[in-house]
Symmetry: C2
Subunit: 151 residues, 2 copies
DNA sequence: TCTTTTTATATCGCAAACGATATATTGAAT
DNA sequence: ATTCAATATATCGTTTGCGATATAAAAAGA
C-alpha cells in the first residue's frame, strides 16, 4: 500500500498548482481578447496602482525574479502597452511607465475582476469564507517568502 | 483612486499563483537532488498510486492536457524513470510504466511530503485548519474544472 | 464493407518561470 | 582616487503550460 502522504489527494501543493492553473485559464478568454496574458495583466494591476516603477519594484511586488519580469515587460513594450526608460538618478534602473494604451486597458478590463470572482463561488468558497481563504494563503506566502530562518 | 477590485491585494488568483509558485520552489532543492522537477514528481505520485496507466489517465488525474504530459513523459523516459509502450488492446494508447529506477525514487523521496508539509505551517495554516483550506481549494477546482454550465 | 466521426497521442509555436551567468552602474572601503 | 563589493537589469538554456493542429487507430453509421 502506498504511503498516505504520497497520495495526490493529500497534497496541498497539487491543489494550489491546479487551482492556480484553472483560475488563470478562467482569465484567458477575457484577457486574450486584448492580446494579454495573465502575468501581463498582473503587471498592469501593479502599474495601475502606481505608475512609473523600476523593474525591481514590479518584480518584488509580484514576488517574481527580474529574469522573468524583464522579458515580460519587453513584450509589453513591443505591444505599446508601456515604455521603459533609463532612470535619471540611477542609470542602472529601467523605469516602466504605462502608455495611453496601457491606461485604456483599465477601462476595457473593468468587468474582469467581478466575472472571475463569481466564477469561483461555490459551497465552500463564499463572500463569507473568502477572507479566511485569503488569510490562509497569505500565511503560506508569508512563510515561504520569508528569508530562510536566520540562525 | 484605483477601483478596489483592481488592487492586487484583493485578488484571489494572484494569491493562488504566488502560493503555488513558492511552494513549488520549496520542493526544488529536494527534487533536483534526483534530477526531478515538480511536475515530474506529480507524475511519479500518480504512477506510484497505480502503475501502467495510459497517457490520458495520467493527464486527467493531473488535470493537464496531453500536450503538456507527453513531452514530460518523454523526458522522464529518457532519464530511465519510466517506459512507454503501445497498448495491446488499443494501439492508440501509450501505456506508461515505472522502471526499477522509478520505484527506487519512492524510497529516496520518502521524507519529502513531511518536509514540505511542515514548511507551510503558520498561524493561519495548522493541522486543524488545513482541512478547511483543502475543502475550499477543492471547491474552486471543482467549480472551474466542471464542464461549463450545460444550458 | 466503406465512410465518417471520435478518441489517443504527438508535434509545433509561444509565453512564462527560473537557475545560472553576464554587464553596467553605484556605493563602500582603503 | 582606486579597488572592491553590492545592486539593477539583461541574457541564456531548459522545462512547463497550453492553444492549435496533425496523425493514427478505433468506433459508429450508412
Amino acid at each position: 500500500m502506498i504511503k498516505e502522504e504520497f497520495k495526490l489527494d493529500n497534497q496541498l501543493c497539487f491543489r494550489l498548482y491546479t487551482a492556480s492553473r484553472l483560475l488563470t485559464q478562467a482569465y484567458h478568454p477575457l484577457l486574450s481578447e486584448y492580446g494579454l496574458t495573465y502575468p501581463q495583466y498582473l503587471v498592469l494591476l501593479v502599474l495601475w496602482e502606481k505608475d512609473a516603477q523600476p523593474v525591481n519594484d514590479i518584480a518584488k511586488r509580484l514576488l517574481l525574479e527580474t529574469n522573468t519580469v524583464t522579458p515580460l515587460l519587453q513584450r509589453m513594450e513591443k505591444e505599446g502597452i508601456l515604455v521603459r526608460r533609463k532612470g535619471e538618478k540611477d542609470a542602472r534602473q529601467m523605469i516602466v511607465s504605462l502608455t495611453e494604451k496601457g491606461w485604456e486597458l483599465q477601462k476595457k478590463l473593468a468587468d474582469v475582476p467581478a466575472i472571475v470572482g463569481n466564477s469561483v463561488l461555490c459551497d465552500s468558497v463564499t463572500p463569507e469564507t473568502a477572507p479566511e481563504l485569503f488569510r490562509m494563503l497569505d500565511g503560506i506566502i508569508g512563510k515561504l517568502s520569508a528569508p530562510s530562518t536566520l540562525s
